[in-house]
């Protein structure tokens, strides 16, 4: 698979949120402000990349040779959980002011199923390599960012709408996601 195919596919055609259904919780839950979602996208970009790098190596050079690929799920989740915490510790250690600024700005960097999902999906790429896996993680987080930022802006906008009582909150968010996903079907066949 070529790199541009991976990119177009992960961002538009098979957007991880809108068509793969990964990371729906933060998508629906934390995307109320555009500036926050931009920041959050940056964080997800890093977390996904580093997580995919580590898990890919772990899988390729430890699990597979040892015949332990059935431990994929449990090892991945442990590694990702610990990794995210490590990043936080390191940040806090090396630069408290930076860490604090992030704390004010970004409510949370969730390790959600998107990170685990992307790590697992990256293993299944056609003629996978580390570089491709990382590039896939990068593209996926771009897709996540696109969906998140679009969605945040629409939600800000809908705050001013006279939504019907029952539609408020989750239903309208799901509906917007649905129509967005419908529109993204137009990208079918680009890759």
């Amino acid at each position: 698979m070529e790199y541009w195919v991976i990119l177009i596919s992960a961002v538009f055609v098979n957007n991880i949120v809108l068509s793969q259904f990964l990371g729906i919780c933060p998508f629906l839950g934390v995307s109320g402000k555009v500036s926050t979602s931009v920041g959050m996208s940056g964080a997800v970009l890093f977390v996904m990349t580093i997580a995919t790098t580590v898990t890919y190596l772990l899988h390729q050079y430890l699990l597979l040779p040892l015949g332990l690929d059935y431990l994929r799920t449990i090892t991945f989740i442990l590694v990702i959980a610990a990794l995210v915490q490590m990043v936080e510790i390191v940040l806090k250690k090396v630069s408290p002011p930076l860490y604090q600024a992030l704390g004010v700005f970004l409510p949370l960097i969730t390790t959600n199923c998107a990170v685990l999902g992307v790590a697992i999906l990256a293993l299944g790429l056609v003629d996978a390599s580390l570089l491709k896996a990382v590039f896939f993680a990068f593209s996926s987080s771009l897709g996540f960012a696109l969906a998140l930022i679009l969605f945040a802006s629409i939600r800000e906008y809908l705050e001013l709408a006279n939504l019907p009582e029952g539609m408020k909150g989750v239903p309208i968010n799901l509906l917007v996601a649905g129509i967005l996903s419908l529109a993204f079907l137009g990208f079918a066949g680009l890759v």
Partner: protein
């Protein structure tokens, strides 16, 4: 509501985790041992089922005797599965593919009778539009290929001058399908040329 917990000393923590992972490791390893065989069987079955679908009854293990070959114009390797009944070749299953489906790849497994006519076709992979292109899996469509010899049956859509009846509204998928069959047929021909007598030593 308050439950007495162990204190969070370093030792306690590490020990608790050690114990839990130990148990987890043992049990997972054990379950893996238990399911190793069924898993392999299930994987094999999926292939064999497809093969059974397109081939007559056989006694050998076509999967083990499969030939993989690379083919011009095919991105992945193609597979060639001979089916034998008591060392008589009773049929051959060949994979064939086309990139020209409505949404990309269409991959088929085509079963040939020893005389070169098509016995049956199974769809291995396709991403066509549900309700349109996906109808290629339907009996109504597949029926037209049975017992047709590609040597005489023009594997092109009628619109393009061939003999294949296109799916309604899915000419493109049909073309890709036909192309895949054609490819499988060519692989079949090329492989069979190397086997002049249609039998094989046991």
């Amino acid at each position: 509501m308050t439950v007495k917990k162990k204190a969070s000393s370093l030792f306690n923590m590490v020990f608790a985790l050690f114990a839990i992972t130990l148990i987890a490791g043992i049990s997972l390893g054990y379950v893996n041992e238990l399911t190793l065989e069924p898993k392999a069987r299930a994987r094999l079955e999926r292939k064999v089922n497809a093969l059974k679908n397109v081939l007559p009854a056989f006694t050998n293990s076509p999967v083990d005797e499969a030939v993989r070959l690379s083919w011009e114009g095919a991105p992945d390797s193609l597979e060639f599965y001979p089916a034998m009944q008591d060392s008589t070749l009773v049929g051959v299953a060949v994979t064939g593919g086309s990139e020209k489906g409505y949404n990309g790849t269409v991959r088929l497994l085509v079963g040939f009778n020893p005389d070169g006519s098509i016995r049956n076709i199974a769809v291995l992979e396709q991403k066509e539009t549900p309700g349109l292109g996906t109808k290629m899996k339907g009996e109504a469509f597949l029926k037209q290929f049975r017992e047709k010899d590609p040597a005489t049956f023009d594997l092109r859509v009628r619109k393009d001058g061939g003999q294949v009846d296109a799916l309604a509204g899915a000419t493109i998928s049909t073309r890709a399908f036909a192309e895949a069959v054609q490819q499988a047929y060519e692989v079949y021909r090329s492989q069979m040329e190397g086997r002049p007598n249609q039998t094989r030593k046991p």
